[in-house]
Amino acid sequence: MLTLKRLTGRTLLYLTLAVGALAMAFPFLWMGLSAFKTPAEIAAVPPVWWPERFSLENFARVFEVAPFAVYLRNSLLVTIACVLVTQVVSIMAAFAFSALRFKGRDWIFAAVVSLMVAPFELLIITNYATMADLRLIDTLPALVLPFVSSIFYMFIIRTTFQSVPEGLYWAARIDGASNWRYLWTILVPVARPTITTTSLLNAIAAWNAFMWPLLVINSRDKRTLPVGLYSFITEGGVRYELLMAAATVAVLPMLLVFAVASSQIIQGIARGGLKG
């Protein structure tokens, strides 16, 4: 039964929610709409809310004046490489720290975890020098290598591995499975929800990374999207309809990922905050 009080309550709830949603979504909406506007519509006072026609002209221009296709490709390559390598390395280490037994295991694990408090900003100076020593400055591998061992993802994966009953391990070993086989054919499938979450967080962090690529990448054709976007202001001058189209290109893939897997991403974030 809908009483009047309940009805006003609901109306108020939705009204407040809508105001909040508008505030949070507005930059995205405004960016998306502006990406379709003509220069005249961009400079209109009062602002034109709705572009007269939705043509993809600005997007085509963006790909013409700057090598955004190259940026996009680099970002994709780096993100895929980061996620694949980091997750495999983390999974292996998490396995060693949970299922295997060796002397000093828990002590070593505690020591490793304590390193997690070092913020990335502390590490960049030496890591830059290391990249220079390895002659990797201005290459795409330099964007992957320093992130290969992520203590944070390893920590989360290990927690899940530890919740898997030990009997499963011994049963598989008795049946003749090697450690390697047990890990990849039994343990990883069991822990799939967790690994999906860490992979998603990893992908978001890699896709959005800005400071490190800004430092180690110099040439145009090695830039990832965030760095390419920033260079777009400094090199091309500020043309807002083009800037908004370029920013939309950079944001859209992650928004699609979020639309598909929002609950997993939110769960992961709730567990450990946003740590890259």
């Binding site: 960016m31 913020p119 061992s149 807002y240």
Partner: protein, 303 residues
Amino acid sequence: MSLRRRSAPARFRTPPRFLTPLAFLAPFALGTLVFVFYPIIDVIRLSFLEDHVFLTGQFSRVGLGNYAATFADPHFATAVRNTTIYAAVVIPTTLVLGLAAAWLLNRSFVGRRFFQTVYFLPLVTSATAIGLAWRWIFNFDYGVLNYALSLVGLPGVNWLNDPAWGLAALMIYGVWSMLPLTTVLLLVGMQNIDPRYGLAARVDGAGALARFRAITLPLLAPSIGLVLIVNLITSARVFDELFPLFNGKPGVAGSLYTMVYFIYDSFFKANDLGKASAAAIVFSLAVLVLALLQLRLQRRWRH
């Protein structure tokens, strides 16, 4: 631990007790040693080397000169001041808005998932990209924010080019970008509260506001503590958004130096490795203290 060890039959243990773990750990260990452990040691060393020349590896002497230079740098003072104001304004604002948002999203209603997704959108977007959208919103001549101000009869503000307003713009962006994580953490905290408490209070005739004050808020204290520390660390790390908003400069006339921008500037622009290292260590110690606090709270929060 010792109980478990005894429960595993000895004959099933892998014979080489050391080689197998080593094989699984090798890539991770190598990466951690080279890219995490060694840099920590190295940066501590560098911070004490004075007049260090990067290319030749030579330095004049060992001392606290880099720390003295860091603390004497007016840009460092600006950075500390900005970070303090930023944290003092953004963190309470975000907390209040986050509590409201989490409280709303914790109720059951049609379309809850949709609203959650919209509220959490900024979680996955890069500061560089959405920062450009904000730059456009903040635009002096054509930006919607100044247009909105003009509707209520207020004069337009030169958000991004007036040193008096740059920090305000940064803080508006800060609240917007920190709100989703704040809301997520508070929402999880609220969902962990046993609904029977609320129900019991309801039976006793407590209104929604009274229930929030007497039940939700006290039981949420650990989550609130966690949020405060996470946001404090985030406030100390402001960097990426300076690039889309202020063309990669720390605001007009260096008015918007932040801690991390100061490190970046000393290292990359001024090539002063010693000072960059000293600043990075000061920054990290500050963050470390906060992180340890966070860890303690989080542990309490989980149990």
